[in-house]
Subunit: 379 residues, 2 copies
């Protein structure tokens, strides 16, 4: 059995948060030696850690010469490296697997001590894919918050009316992406899972990609709402997208809707243990390509955004984007317990695009949809 080492804080490292399910803002060392967990921790955190991981071995700063180092006058960074080095010596290990993000300064010190360190993505990704009950509860809470946020966004859109090419509110002023975002974020936060400020409220007017969207929203064109709230208790995420049109639905948008609905169903129906992310992505690409659209698989045409130029989705858990990979590089087969977001969509110059995104929990023989929200384009 290989030893494991992590060095980070639980806000920045989802891998560490999975092992120590607490919010801890200052970095610390976590180890697993012959399957037994250990941490190097200071007095401020040790009781909290012991409470969530009963039986964990806690090496206190005092056990690795904290006071002596404090008095020696070495800078804090060197002091931390020295304490980590001594703690690892106390653990009595000569090799360890570390996550790919393991900090170089700590690695250089431990290797200089003679430790063999091997960064490996899969070891830690596999551990995260097996979610704890608390993490799964957190994903469900975040998903409920997402639905509340989407309902709030839909209500704001429903109250708007077309005025020429744009939407206006009851008082005649333009409806802005910011108004919709504020309403949905308030609803998510009220449900215990705030959504970050860059959740997407955007049409073709706002542009393509990871632009959050600002300014007036159009009448008769698709408006995508893509939001990802995070459960405050566990740090688990959800992710959800719907597309709305206020005003007349053009044939182009109806055609997109029909195709995206088919691609979405194809991917959802194919989701089960054993299928790879690449194969799942292909199930959506097949639908789009058969209808003459470009996909990431065929490559873009003149316009880099046109068609389905992104992956099908991604795993969701303590990170909003995590394993399994659901794009062309997704070699790993799905396993029961995976939580994935599937989000096929189309994009067309001058029109924008329709996209839907649901969370699926992979079960022993298929997938359970965690998202409970209609797909109607009319809010």
């Amino acid at each position: 059995m290989t030893n494991l080492l992590l060095y980070s804080d639980t806000e920045r490292s989802a891998t560490l948060r999975h092992e120590i399910p607490l919010s801890i803002g200052d970095p610390f060392l976590f180890a697993e030696v012959d399957g037994a967990p250990a941490v190097l921790s200071n007095t401020l955190e040790r009781d909290r850690i012991a409470a969530v991981r009963p039986g964990i071995r806690i090496i206190d700063y005092q056990d690795v010469g904290f006071r002596e180092l404090l008095e020696s006058g070495s800078p804090r960074e060197e002091m931390m490296l020295e304490m980590v080095s001594r703690a690892v010596a106390q653990l009595g290990i000569s090799e360890a697997t570390v996550d790919p993000d393991f900090p170089l300064a700590v690695a250089d010190r431990l290797r200089a001590d003679g430790l063999a360190l091997t960064p490996d993505h899969d070891t830690f990704a596999q551990r995260r894919r097996a979610k704890s009950g608390a993490e799964l509860d957190g994903i469900r809470r975040a998903q409920h918050a997402a639905e509340a946020g989407m309902a709030a966004a839909a209500a704001v859109l429903r109250a708007a009316t077309p005025d020429g090419d744009r939407l206006v509110r009851g008082d005649g002023t333009p409806l802005m992406a910011e108004h919709v975002r504020e309403a949905l974020r308030d609803a998510c936060a009220a449900h215990g899972a705030p959504a970050p400020p860059d959740v997407i409220v955007a049409s073709v007017w706002q542009g393509f990609g990871h632009e959050a969207g600002s300014g007036p929203l159009p009448a008769g064109l698709p408006i995508q709402i893509d939001l990802w709230p995070r459960d405050e208790v566990t740090g688990s995420w959800a992710d959800m997208t719907r597309t709305f049109v206020v005003g007349e639905l053009s044939d182009a948008v109806r055609a997109q809707e029909a195709l995206v609905t088919r691609a979405f169903a194809a991917a959802r129906d194919a989701a089960r243990p054993g299928i790879t992310g690449c194969e799942l992505h292909a199930s959506a690409c097949d639908v789009f390509e058969a209808a003459g659209h470009r996909t990431q698989r065929t490559g873009p045409g003149e316009d880099p955004a046109e068609g389905f130029q992104f992956s099908l989705g991604h795993g969701v858990g303590l990170q909003v984007h995590e394993d399994p990979d659901l794009g062309q590089t997704g070699r790993a087969p799905l396993v029961a317990g995976d939580v994935i977001a599937i989000e096929p969509g189309l994009w067309e110059r001058g029109v924008g695009g329709v996209r839907f995104e649901d969370l699926l929990l992979i079960t022993d023989d298929g997938a359970q949809t965690l998202t409970d929200y209609p797909y109607d384009l009319t809010p």
Copy 2:
């Protein structure tokens, strides 16, 4: 001039956020070669990056063989390493300074390519200490939100009344730490700078250290409110603490208040360019030790928490704890432009403690207090 390399996302890496002031959730490569910035970025982010760093060199995924790698079937992690390797080759560098948190997997690959990488804390810490105007504006906004949050907390406490040893609300039910936290977090969020769920509302009943605090609050004992909101626009933080007592003030608490006020003033008055964090910490320790209290400098007595067993504070910016170090290991002299939180306090068994925390901006000849809130123990 040394070259710099960073590889992270801007949510996890404040160092990268300082260079690319945007929220970007997926990791990417940043380089500075002969003072000129460059990034390796995908289509989804390139326009946003170009908008905030005009003139930055953008190496697109397509420029480093994205499609060919996609078709080669290598896992995403290896594909990313290969693209980073090719991008660094295009930059034509043979050595670089990296931050201590530089991911080991990327470092191992670049070193295998022949690149000399040196992790260094100070290089990047210095860059962060020189805050941009936007970052400083963000800190000020977060600080205003903190004051609004503190006022909301004080209002909840003011409305409570002692009932035996605890506080009760108007309806006769116990006042809980959770009630106070909810009020202050709502106020911070309404001011554009949400505070995380683990901000501290705690008395001696709730315990010492980084425990956020839950359950009933006591009458006649100090209740510490320590909150750290983050400005949503810039990602900059503030940090602020006040201590309140509802009910009769004991002599022990009044004595703590008098001493902490003196230690606080001593540290604030000593804050100026040139003084080290260790010296600033000492200015507060001097006051406490002269009155017979233990400090982190003298070491703890029987009770590890008793006295002033922590550092004076810390720098504040894109991280809530960052350089300069204001504890015994604080060797670096302060410089004009530093933003620091000073938070001296005392802790006594059976009583709890009084602590105040303000933000200071170090100026050319002293320090400007950014916090605008009274220190009264009576809310």
